[in-house]
Symmetry: C2
Subunit: 328 residues, 2 copies
Amino acid sequence: MKTRIGILGYGNLGRGTEIAVAAAEDMELAAVFTRRDPAGVKIITEGVPVVSVNEIEQWKDKIDVLILCGGSATDLPVQTPRYAALFNVIDSFDTHARIPEHFANVDAAAKASGHIGMISVGWDPGLFSLNRVYANAILPDGKDYTFWGKGVSQGHSDAVRRIDGVKNAKQYTIPVEAALEAVRSGEDPELSTRDKHLRECFVVAEEGADKARIEKEIKEMPNYFADYNTIVHFIDEDEFKKNHSGMAHGGFVFRSGKTGVNKENKHIIEYRLTLDSNPEFTTSVLVAYARAAKRMYDEGQRGCKTVLDVPPAYLCTQSGDELRAHLL
Amino acid sequence: MKTRIGILGYGNLGRGTEIAVAAAEDMELAAVFTRRDPAGVKIITEGVPVVSVNEIEQWKDKIDVLILCGGSATDLPVQTPRYAALFNVIDSFDTHARIPEHFANVDAAAKASGHIGMISVGWDPGLFSLNRVYANAILPDGKDYTFWGKGVSQGHSDAVRRIDGVKNAKQYTIPVEAALEAVRSGEDPELSTRDKHLRECFVVAEEGADKARIEKEIKEMPNYFADYNTIVHFIDEDEFKKNHSGMAHGGFVFRSGKTGVNKENKHIIEYRLTLDSNPEFTTSVLVAYARAAKRMYDEGQRGCKTVLDVPPAYLCTQSGDELRAHLL
């Protein structure tokens, strides 16, 4: 029997999840739940109902794992514990500083109802976290580096859009090539914020706006830009739509560590992602972990879990024998 | 109480394990077991006994995990099942084709005696396997590439040394830069054996040997060299000792996969290791997994396990709370 997946929220993540579920031969999409009027939500998969979230309780026994596709700022802190009372749930909560609090809330709800609640699944947190943990366990004497990009930062794009005279804007976070090379070569550099990432902004200004003033406001914006080298380009609406609608992203996790009686041997572990579509990759990770959530639930495990708690084999459709024969 | 580690076999892997255990604050080395005369084996750690393997049974209750540091060809197929009858054991068995058979033998022995037997721990198999499994689960529609090097192949070095007139030899396996770039760029190239790796040999010839004949014999050797572009250098004994005694190695695992309604989005996952000391890195992995073996045993798990069965958090000294707060 296939694992029955529900999706809550049908934005970029919901749509990405739908595509990833369709590509998984052991899963089927049971329903998409929305806070909008279901009549106005058109999904890709034929024959699958779009249902108002108000009716979600009726689906309690028809869904094995509910994948929560809301945002980390306001949706998931409420939704994940709430729906862990009814379903096995999984989310991509990515506010690193609030993970311990979110974990505690989801753990309490999932244990009370007897479900699995898997949180912070994606690539950072998610695959990047895995790589930090493996590398730290293996090379206890070392240094970690994480770089993001090249990719769009939603928060920084929003900050630029809030500037007076800005009609539209996109901000790319770009790792500095010289910093990557210094880490890769084993130099263990001390890198400032400015050393690690560049920020590049593509801005559509309002008719007659003072571009010099906008550029100055961007470059001097505290927290967001002041500590970085920032490049600002003014472009027109057409170019913006044509060249800056993509959702590519990626990044690097490094650990550089030493071993030896006199710490004379250096080792570099590098993990790199180059992604055409941030939401589609994130949801591909979510769907693999939904498979694991179902397995852990079937084994009798309960409560909140993260990627750090999941044996890698649980993500796979293949049996242990197949994995050992072909991928080990 | 610290986890008590035993080491069986004191070559490069045994010595690397000893160094990694010394760097692990939650572990202590209980004893080193050897097939040689213990009086002739000098270890680094003071106050730790070197014991004949014939007396190993007396250590049954004094060791939590025995780390097997023998070779995959003849030692481990016998040792791992044998000592799983007495101890939790862990090995770095790396003959990929024989893993299913080794797994079955160790599983039977470890289940019969009520222990954990963890096999094929290191970087390939090991960390490379993990990366293949994670990446395949996340991107089911894709292509895998593994490259090794730059590093020494023991098997190829041995093959060159068997040629008449060769006094000493070292063979480096080198990934072809153009192939790496083609994979990294998302071209999904079809790569022949020759396209992926170069072989470079440093040979010390016997006095008066026919170097042209040796070079020809190397380059035409079936299985080992005939399918590769091979570079042969003749050097003297001094240069050999000075520049070719290292044990550096490394490699790359890539998966290139597609997502999207029309498979229009490409994603590249790259994992790269650059290692000054192959044995010291391998044993750093072994020691982290010895920690996990102890935990799984304490939880009541039994039988043969591989890296695919181990939750990443089990490798770490930190608690779940600490890991979620700092590394997730």
